[in-house]
Structure formats: structure tokens, C-alpha cells
């Protein structure tokens, strides 16, 4: 199954992916228009630091987003049955019509990548940009640090 991978050595923490993600899920094309939408659209990808500035390795960052896990805890915790695996794409999807904003998924997601969209009373997460050819974050990354590929082509570090 294709997943989104962030090559940490290439990530410069510019957060372009965050912006592109929010715009891609806003229903409009341009960021200038997206920031006018109320409630504000949410990004489902988030750049976090994985290194300390004051260490020899220096600051490093990663764009975190839903892993569409093999055994998704969010789906197990979901009290409505709204979070499930899409049989066609293999992606874990949250049915917005079922979500009751109980945040059980947020309670269990070990990567912290489910976003509380309080204004719309639902949880949102990466959907691999189902309606696009390529996820918006991948397109947006200026250093090509974000890939959308099968695990065998991914830069998975093995200890």
C-alpha cells in the first residue's frame, strides 16, 4: 500500500506541506481564499522537530501524518464505526457523517496525527488526498522530502 514518507534529512521545516494540506481540504484553490473560509480549514499534516537545535545532529524535522496503520487503533477505538479501511485504496478513512467528535481516536493514535476539528465537530486526518492524483503535501514540498510510494521504495531507516 502506498504511504506518505518524509525524508527527514531533506525536510527543512518550511511547513509548505501544512499549507498545501489545509488548502487541499478547503474546497478552494488558492491559499489567499482558503484563509478566508470559516471555520478555518485544518491541515492534517504537521511538521515537528525530531532533533534538538543544541545537539551535534542539530535540528531535524519531519512532516507527520496518518500512517493508515496495519492495525489501526483509531478504528478500534471509534465508537461509531465511522473509521474504517477503504477496501479499494487501503487508506483508513473517517466518515464525517458518522463522527460525533468523541475524540476516542485522538485518545489512542500513537503518532498524534488525528486533528480535532472542534468547529465542525469532527475528527479529521490525512486521506491521501483521495480526490487528487498525488497528495497535496507531496506536490508542495520544495525539497521533494515528501514521497508517496510503496514501502519498498520508501526511505525507511532500519536499525
Amino acid at each position: 500500500m502506498k504511504r506518505i514518507y518524509c525524508i527527514v534529512e531533506k525536510c527543512l521545516a518550511c511547513r509548505s506541506c501544512e499549507i498545501a494540506c489545509a488548502v487541499a481540504h478547503s474546497g478552494v484553490e488558492r491559499v489567499e481564499d482558503a484563509v478566508k473560509i470559516r471555520p478555518l480549514p485544518k491541515h492534517r499534516i504537521r511538521v515537528e522537530s525530531i532533533g534538538d537545535r543544541n545537539t551535534p545532529q542539530g535540528i531535524r524535522s519531519i512532516a507527520l501524518q496518518c500512517r493508515h496503520c496495519e492495525d489501526p487503533l483509531c478504528a478500534q477505538a471509534c465508537i461509531t464505526g465511522g473509521i474504517s479501511r477503504d477496501p479499494e485504496t487501503g487508506a483508513i478513512v473517517n466518515n464525517p457523517d458518522k463522527c460525533v467528535a468523541c475524540w476516542s481516536c485522538i485518545m489512542v493514535c500513537p503518532f498524534g496525527v488525528i486533528v480535532r476539528y472542534e468547529d465542525c465537530r469532527r475528527a479529521v486526518k490525512c486521506d491521501h488526498c483521495a480526490d487528487r492524483d498525488e497528495p497535496a503535501c507531496v506536490e508542495a514540498c520544495p525539497t521533494r522530502a515528501i514521497l508517496y510510494c510503496e514501502a519498498e521504495d520508501a526511505p525507511i531507516p532500519v536499525e
Binding site: 518550511c14 511547513r15 509548505s16 501544512e18 499549507i19 498545501a20 489545509a22 488548502v23 488558492r30 491559499v31 489567499e32 484563509v35 478566508k36 478555518l40 480549514p41 485544518k42 491541515h43 504537521r46 486533528v115 506536490e139 508542495a140 514540498c141 520544495p142
Partner: protein, 622 residues
């Protein structure tokens, strides 16, 4: 060969924080950025919020643009001083009438001074405007009384040009002015120091030195480059360089040298604003606007590309290396790695210019294959405010009254200045052409400068007969009656100051209110990219003009700031900003604004809007 469009593509996606103006690099506690979707940081490290960050970035763009225009003006003033003091310099006063007029504005008593003495006094007075610490810039007096009073009330009349720019930089450094509205008032003062200061000094003194433009025929587009002539392309902004090249290229010795190298002549063509300067004063051909600088080189027919300052792409050396083209820099302020440098300001400018032309001629035999596009277009340009004044009324009864009369009777709905750069982020030239087409179709007289004028020239808008096919009936009638095209090319980007003077003249002519902000006029920069455009935009807004920019403005990261310049500013200064990337919608905004002003003046008779469509575009073909 890589072009600006290739590199633009490689820059995609542009960083949204920069596009929205919410990236702050003022200090190294950062860089900081605000999450526009509210999930991340709402404040920079120092505590600056989105509006402050956007405001500081915007203000620094104003300062950058004002600095560029003004330093250009300073260089013209120094050249005038040189011309007055040193007849060997190659420069001389060409327009005595303009000298007298400027001397009057600057409060210089001609007495029984010689032309050179007056010129020296004018140059020195102009130079002192830069370092002035208190008081008011002299050219402010050109503005309508009501406008001057408004500025005084807000305490934003520029004192000295340099002072306002320095203060703008100071106020926007870490931890100084933290109120976006207060910052924007100083941005107005800084921008006014450009439009009514640096830029106006540049324009007026260039006219003194090189002549005030009057209507002239010319040609535009890459097709003006010659297969058989030595092609010297001059690119940049200051006519201080190009005027000397014009003289050198006409030198019989040089022509002889060219013939000896197998060329049939010397073809001096321009790019960007320098092109506009030499076109307006000499009718020399324009090879293209800013985005065509690499394309000109790519014809393989440019024997020398001679540049000075502003809008010169650092990609030119690598582009030139693909061909035989020699890249030559001429300003000590603007050197480029890989270019030959001739200092035009040192010693005798004409001598340097001759050396440059000689180098171009000697390079002619090195030409490889050339590929010059066929496209070229005729044009008429040279509409300084004096020329417009003359055309409207004739030499002895020159007046803006006929223009005002026709605006009042509704044949002409209003006037729009369409100016500014070209930007590879939008389809090339199209926004300019579509906007101007729709404006004239709706009987709005268009005044143009800069690269925008070149875009429209290429489309044929500067050919009166062609433009009339698109222009509305009323506008065509008036233009035909006075023998003026509906799209007036007024010069380079510093020559936007001509538009300020023209607007003031319109107010003085009467019948259209007492201030620029009463006039049914608007400004637009549909494909802007430079800091200079922001400074121009802001001096138009601060002079009371509704000004629309295309492409997008880096302010959308703060709704509060955007509201301030898009709405609140009108109550403060009578003008306001707008942003609209779509040319059709931009035309709509301008038409609505002009109709609104007409309504307020009691001369409004709304007419159905005419859309600039494909049929009209086809009509443009000559």
C-alpha cells in the same frame, strides 16, 4: 538555455508563508512564521502577531522600492550637476523650458544666471532634497491644495527622501514600531518621498537633460533585432547610460567600424525601462520587457547586452555564455559576476559608451546561428503630461480642460494608469492586455508606463487605429478628435510621477472635485513583482488613487492588515489598495470604482459594461 519560466516552475510550490507575508526574518530569534490556519504558532518569537509581521514586510518593500527609484533620481541629479559644471562630460541641458519650470518649483530665481548656472542650482537643490532633515519636499507643491493639507494633517509630508527611507527601515527593525496602522502611515510618507520626490526628480531632471518626450513612432518586440546590423541591447533603468549609447551608436566612426566588420549598421534596441526612455526620446526600438531579457540573448543576434541597474536578472551571464553575446555592466552599483564592466559614471561617459559600442561591433563577427522571431509591432509613444496637455489643447491654449469636459460629458468615463512589471507567475503579458483592452472598451482612457506599456505595445494597443477597434465609441471620438491614441505610453517606471502631475493638472483644470481622490481614476499593476511596484502602488494610494494589484499581495496572512489597506485606508487617505489576480474582475473593480466616483461627482450615467473578448483580441491583429 534556462529561462525565467523554467526557474519559476522550479520554485513551485512557492512558500505560502512568504506569499501571505507572514514569514518574518527581521531578527535571528526567528525566522518565524504564523500558522494561517490557527493550529500552530500565532506569534513570532518576539511576540509579533500576523498583522505586525505582514505590515513590517510590506513597509520594507515600500522602503526598498522608494530607495531604488530615489537612488536613480539622485544619479540623474548628479549627472545634471556634472553637465552644468563640466562641458567635457558628454552631458548637457537639452530642454531649457523644463529647466525653467523645475527651477520655478525648486524656488530658484533665474535672475541673470546662465543656463548652466541654473542647471547647477537645480541639481544642487534637487540633491539637497535627499538629505533634507526637516521641512517639506519641494515637489509636494505640485499636488492639489486639498491633498497637501490632508498630508499635513496626518503629518506625513515627506521631509527628506533618504530620511523617510531610513526611518522606515528603523521602524521595521526588531522591536520598534509595533502598530501596523502607524507603520502604514510612515509607509505613506516613504512612498510619497518616492513618487513626489525621488521618482519625480528622476523624471523631471531626465527631461531637462535629455528632452521632454513628445509623441514618437517606434517598434516593439524581438523582431526589432537585426540580422545585418550590430545589435546593442541596452537594459536597465537610467537614461544616463542609454543616452550616451545613442550618441555613440550614431557616431560615424563607429558606423564605419561596423561596416568594416561586415555589419550594415548599428541597431540600438532597449529592454525594460531603459527601452522606454530611449523610445520616448529617440524612437529607438524596444526588444522587449523584463521577461524578454534572456529571450533577446537567445536570438543569438545580440552582440552586446549593456546593463545598468534594476530588474537585471542574475541569469544573464549564463544565458550570454550560451551565445556570443557580451554582457557589459556600467554602474558601480550593479556588477555581475562574468560580465565586463565599464564605469559610465567615471571620466567621460561618452568615451565609455564608445568603448562599449566598439566592443559590440568587434563581437559582431563572432555571431553563430541566429534565430530572430518575426514578431514586431508598430507603436506611438511619448505622452509626457506636457505632451498630453499640448495635444488636448494645442501649444497656445494647452489645457486639461478638454479632457475634464469629456469626462464630465461621459464620452470618457475616467482615466486608469496601468503600469508595472511582468511576472512569470501569471500568463505572460496577458493580464496587462486583457485589462487595458477591457478598460478602453469601456471608454476609460489608459495611461501606461514601464513593462506594462511594452506588453500592450506588443499587442498593438499603442497603434491608434488598432486600439480604436477595441476602444469604446466615446473614447474613440475624443481620441480621434485630438489625434491621440486611447492608450498613452508615458514612459518608464520613474515616470509614474508624470501621472501624479497629470492627475494634479486634472484637479486644477476644474469640474472634477478638489482633490485627486475625487477624480474618476484608478491605478493598476496587473503583473507586478518588484518592491518598486509596491512603492508606486502605495504612493498612488497615498495620493488618493484606488489601486488594484494583480498576482496577489503578500498581505493575506493577516485579515486585520488586509482590511486596513483594502478598506480603512480610504477613510484616511482617500485611496485604497485592492488585489485581484483576474484581469476581467480587475477591470470590473476599476469600472465600478470610476462609476462610483462619477456618481459622487454627479456626472454618473451608468452604462452596460463591455467585456474584452476573443473577438476584440482578434481585432488587434494589424
Amino acid at each position: 538555455m534556462e529561462t525565467v519560466w523554467d526557474r519559476s516552475e522550479q520554485q513551485e510550490p512557492r512558500c505560502g508563508f512568504g506569499e501571505m507575508g507572514i514569514c518574518c526574518r527581521m531578527c535571528h530569534m526567528g525566522p518565524c512564521r504564523i500558522d494561517p490556519f490557527g493550529q500552530g504558532a500565532k506569534l513570532g518569537v518576539c511576540g509579533a502577531n500576523a498583522e505586525l509581521i505582514v505590515a513590517r514586510n510590506f513597509c520594507r518593500m515600500v522602503a526598498g522600492g522608494a530607495a531604488a527609484h530615489s537612488d536613480h533620481g539622485r544619479s540623474v541629479a548628479r549627472t545634471l550637476l556634472l553637465a552644468a559644471k563640466n562641458p567635457e562630460s558628454g552631458y548637457a541641458v537639452k530642454d531649457g523650458n523644463k529647466l525653467a519650470k523645475v527651477a520655478g518649483i525648486l524656488g530658484i530665481d533665474p535672475g541673470n544666471k546662465t543656463k548652466e548656472e541654473i542647471a547647477a542650482a537645480v541639481a544642487e537643490k534637487a540633491l539637497s532634497e535627499f538629505g533634507r532633515q526637516e521641512g517639506e519636499l519641494s515637489f509636494i507643491k505640485q499636488a492639489p491644495e486639498a491633498r497637501q493639507a490632508l498630508w499635513r494633517g496626518l503629518n506625513i509630508v515627506p521631509r527628506g527622501i533618504d530620511r523617510e527611507i531610513v526611518e522606515m527601515m528603523h521602524r521595521t527593525t526588531m522591536g520598534v514600531d509595533q502598530e501596523h496602522k502607524n507603520l502604514m502611515l510612515h509607509a505613506s510618507r516613504t512612498a510619497l518621498a518616492d513618487g513626489w520626490g525621488g521618482s519625480m526628480i528622476a523624471t523631471e531632471l531626465q527631461d531637462v537633460l535629455f528632452g521632454t518626450p513628445s509623441p514618437v513612432r517606434g517598434q516593439v518586440n524581438l523582431g526589432v533585432l537585426s540580422e545585418t546590423d550590430v545589435n546593442v541591447v541596452v537594459h536597465g533603468h537610467e537614461p544616463v547610460l542609454s543616452e550616451m549609447l545613442v550618441l555613440a551608436a550614431r557616431d560615424p566612426d563607429m558606423l564605419k567600424l561596423a561596416e568594416s566588420q561586415g555589419a550594415s549598421g548599428i541597431n540600438l534596441a532597449g529592454i525594460c525601462c531603459t527601452a522606454n526612455e530611449v523610445l520616448l526620446r529617440h524612437g529607438l526600438p524596444i526588444a522587449g520587457n523584463i521577461l524578454q531579457q534572456e529571450l533577446a540573448v537567445a536570438t543569438g543576434a545580440v552582440d552586446a547586452m549593456v546593463v545598468d541597474v534594476q530588474c537585471i536578472m542574475p541569469s544573464l551571464p549564463s544565458a550570454s555564455k550560451c551565445f556570443h553575446t557580451h554582457l557589459i555592466t556600467t554602474s558601480p552599483k550593479g556588477k555581475i559576476e562574468g560580465a565586463r564592466h565599464y564605469d559610465i559614471e567615471a571620466e567621460n561617459a561618452l568615451h565609455s559608451a564608445r568603448e562599449i559600442v566598439r566592443e559590440a561591433i568587434l563581437n559582431f563577427p563572432n555571431r553563430g546561428n541566429t534565430e530572430i522571431p518575426q514578431e514586431k509591432m508598430d507603436l506611438v509613444a511619448g505622452f509626457s503630461h506636457e505632451a498630453i496637455h499640448y495635444m488636448l489643447g494645442g501649444r497656445f491654449r494647452g489645457s486639461y480642460a478638454p479632457l475634464n469636459d469629456n469626462i464630465i460629458n461621459g464620452r470618457i468615463k475616467g482615466v486608469a494608469g496601468v503600469v508595472g512589471c511582468c511576472n512569470p507567475k501569471v500568463p505572460y503579458d496577458r493580464e496587462h492586455v486583457d485589462l487595458v483592452g477591457e478598460l478602453i472598451a469601456n471608454d476609460i482612457l489608459v495611461v501606461q508606463t514601464g513593462c506594462s506599456a511594452i506588453s500592450c505595445a506588443k499587442a498593438g494597443f499603442l497603434v491608434p487605429d488598432t486600439a480604436h477597434k477595441v476602444a469604446g465609441k466615446g473614447l474613440t471620438e475624443v481620441c480621434e478628435a485630438v489625434g491621440m491614441p486611447p492608450v498613452l505610453h508615458s514612459g518608464s517606471c520613474v515616470d509614474n510621477s508624470r501621472i501624479l502631475v497629470a492627475l494634479s493638472e486634472m484637479v486644477k483644470a476644474g469640474g472634477l472635485g478638489s482633490d485627486i481622490s475625487d477624480l474618476p481614476v484608478a491605478g493598476a499593476a496587473p503583473e507586478w513583482m518588484s518592491e518598486k511596484a509596491i512603492s508606486i502602488g502605495h504612493y498612488f494610494v497615498s495620493s488618493g488613487v484606488f489601486t488594484v494589484f494583480g498576482v496577489g499581495l503578500p498581505v493575506s496572512g493577516s485579515e486585520t492588515f488586509a482590511r486596513h489597506i483594502f478598506e480603512e485606508f480610504e477613510a484616511i487617505l482617500g485611496g485604497k489598495w485592492a488585489v485581484e489576480p483576474d484581469a476581467g474582475k480587475m477591470a470590473g473593480l476599476i469600472i465600478d470604482h470610476i462609476n462610483g466616483k462619477r456618481e459622487k461627482l454627479g456626472i454618473g450615467k451608468a452604462r452596460e459594461r463591455v467585456l474584452f473578448d476573443m473577438e476584440m483580441r482578434r481585432n488587434l491583429a494589424v
